[in-house]
Amino acid sequence: MKIKGNVIRYNDNVDTDVIIPARYLNTSNPKELAAHCMEDLDPTFVSRVKKGDIIVAGANFGCGSSREHAPIAIKESGIACVVAKSFARIFYRNAINIGLPIVECDVDVDEGDVLTVDFDTGVIVNETKGTSANFAAFPPFLMAIIESGGLLAAVREGKL
């Protein structure tokens, strides 16, 4: 699996309250959620995000509440992959469980750079800067979930 896209850059501790504020949690409709994605942190996100973009953030991305609405909103908004220095653990498992590819890696990128993330080789290439970084491959169990397209698909297929 290989993902190529433009970078949208954020810092440390992006919490689920700014990814999707609780005032919008009276729905679980992905489209309605995506319409407010990142609103309290970056009101321009929704208007400038393009299908296939990659979010690159600092440490502890997705900290805070267990709301699966957060990775759902990100995925629905067109983001193909999230790369962060580290993830909060519930966000990490939620993203895997709904099939949003995420990578734990410290990369040197700026907003708008073009990245290629190769899940088979575990290498991220910054096409704009000509640099690259390695990341640890998923354990086979998690790869099976991602390849099935999420936890419930994996459960259905009897992969677990």
């Binding site: 501790n13 919490d15 309250d17 700014v18 504020p21 609780a22 005032r23 949690l25 009276n26 729905t27 679980s28 309290d40 942190l41 440490a59 502890n60 900290c63 805070g64 509440s65 267990s66 709301r67 699966e68 609405h69 759902i72 580290s86 909060a88 653990r89 519930i90 498992r93 939620n94 469980n97 709904i98 354990p139 086979p140 169990f141 998690l142 999420g150 936890l151 419930l152 459960v155 259905r156 009897g158 677990l160």
Partner: protein
């Protein structure tokens, strides 16, 4: 799906580490091993574990139900081991919230889920579940709510998961878990007057940061543990997630057992950490030295003690939530406020976390005292804690809250501010009209 999925009763390691020899385990690791049908587990290993309780609320359950229905499962794994609590937006704040609760209510009825709690019976989930005796020592509990880690106070392994995990667990009774490493917090001494569990956990988060325990267990040990009330332990374990932890856990002692008996919980199953269990780090904390602590916007790690706090005028105070909405919290707040009136221009909202707490507080005369002092008392709800309703902040407003998160926009406008504090500090601040210590 359903039963055939759980056919593999001989739980196996999903990420093999079979080569490593048996090793001492932490309390958390022992509970996970027991629920995975294994003699021992090591950090990093991924296991499938049986769950004793699966929890969901009015926000996370609808997502789980949609996923559950998609699987084609015939039924839930056990109608008595699922708890659904309508607490975030209840009594329903708008039509969409009402539809969400209706979805959960219908599901509970269809699948014979006995522990469904709606208006009239509900309370803030993490206050309600222990109060109802639905969790006991040694249990493995998962909940589609990040503060599910609260029950570590009772010596259970409990952790927050997402809605898809909840859906899978409702169908199979199992969850995949990566075995966590651990940090140890060795407590000695005793907390001073008006210094509470909230001050201790804020102090710890200030010390290690909001990702200081990322993916790990926070295990509390030492003689100081036994000086803490169960209410304080619930508050401390509740905020383990604010340090990024997978869970926070306390050893089981007489106070734990008494609490569980009093609330009709199942017989405790006691697990103790091996004496030579490995901790990535041990922090020594003398409770005597902990001071009243406040977390400034916009992260729980931005803690200050009153010697570092200047004049911070406030607009609102909220006393409630799964962190500090218990009877003990209301008692201490009332004590601090006794004989005083709320400062002019400050709105004070008191939210007992459950119906039982509400009733007890009423019988003790606390509610009358709050109302006469100029506070409002609300029916149990999460409400303002997550910026849902019942006390939303306008641009530029400041609130002292006994809740657990002060992220940007958490209680309303993105430019409002939340200061996290204990009920004693919140009450003193309500009277002073600015951030103030309880004396």
């Amino acid at each position: 799906m359903n039963t055939n999925m759980t056919a593999d009763k001989n739980k196996k390691t999903l990420l093999s580490s079979d080569a490593s020899p048996p090793r001492p385990m932490t309390m958390t690791q022992k509970i996970i091993a027991a629920h995975a049908g294994k003699d021992y587990v090591s950090p990093g290993e991924i296991v499938m574990a049986n769950v004793d309780l699966v929890l969901g609320n009015d926000i996370t359950s609808p997502v789980a139900i949609t996923e559950f229905d998609k699987t084609g499962a015939r039924g839930v794994f056990d109608g008595e081991k699922i708890a659904l609590v309508m607490d975030h937006f209840t009594p329903n704040k708008d039509i969409k919230a009402a539809e969400q609760c209706k979805c959960v209510r219908t599901f509970a009825k269809k699948h014979g889920i006995v522990n469904y709690f709606d208006v009239g019976e509900m309370g803030v989930e993490h206050a309600l579940i222990p109060e109802r005796g639905l969790v006991t020592s040694g249990d493995l509990v998962i909940g589609a709510d990040s503060h599910t880690c609260t029950y570590g106070a009772l010596g259970a392994f409990s952790t927050g998961i997402g809605s898809t995990d909840m859906a899978a667990a409702m169908a199979t009774g199992e969850v995949w878990l990566k075995v966590p490493g651990a940090l140890r917090f060795n407590l000695t001494g005793k907390l001073g007057r008006y210094v509470t569990g909230k001050d201790l956990i804020l102090h710890i988060i200030g010390m290690i940061g909001v990702d200081g325990a990322l993916y790990k267990s926070m295990e509390f040990t030492g003689a100081g543990v036994h000086t803490l009330s169960v209410s304080d332990r619930l508050c401390i374990a509740n905020m383990a997630i604010e340090a990024g932890a997978k869970n926070g856990i306390f050893p089981v002692d007489d106070k734990t057992i008494e609490y569980i008996k009093e609330h009709g919980g199942d017989e405790p199953r006691i697990y103790e950490a091996d004496p030579d269990a490995e901790y990535e780090k041990t922090y020594e904390i003398d409770l005597t030295e902990v001071r009243q602590t406040v977390a400034f916007p916009h992260l729980p790690e931005n803690t200050r003690t009153f010697d570092e706090i200047g004049d911070i005028p406030i607009d609102q105070v909220v006393i409630g939530s799964c962190t500090n909405g218990r009877l003990e919290d209301l008692i201490i707040a009332a004590e601090v406020m006794r004989g005083h009136h709320v400062a002019p221009g400050v709105r004070v909202i008191i939210i007992p976390a459950t119906q039982k707490i509400y009733l007890d507080a009423m019988e003790m005369g606390l509610l009358r005292q709050f109302i006469e002092a100029g506070c409002v008392v609300s029916t149990p709800t999460c409400g303002p804690c997550l910026g849902g309703y019942m006390g939303i902040l306008a641009e530029g407003e400041r609130c002292v809250a006994t809740t657990n998160r002060n992220f940007v926009g958490r209680m309303g406008h993105p430019k409002s501010e939340v200061y996290l504090a204990s009920p004693a500090v919140a009450a003193a601040s309500a009277v002073a009209g600015k951030l103030a210590p309880a004396i």
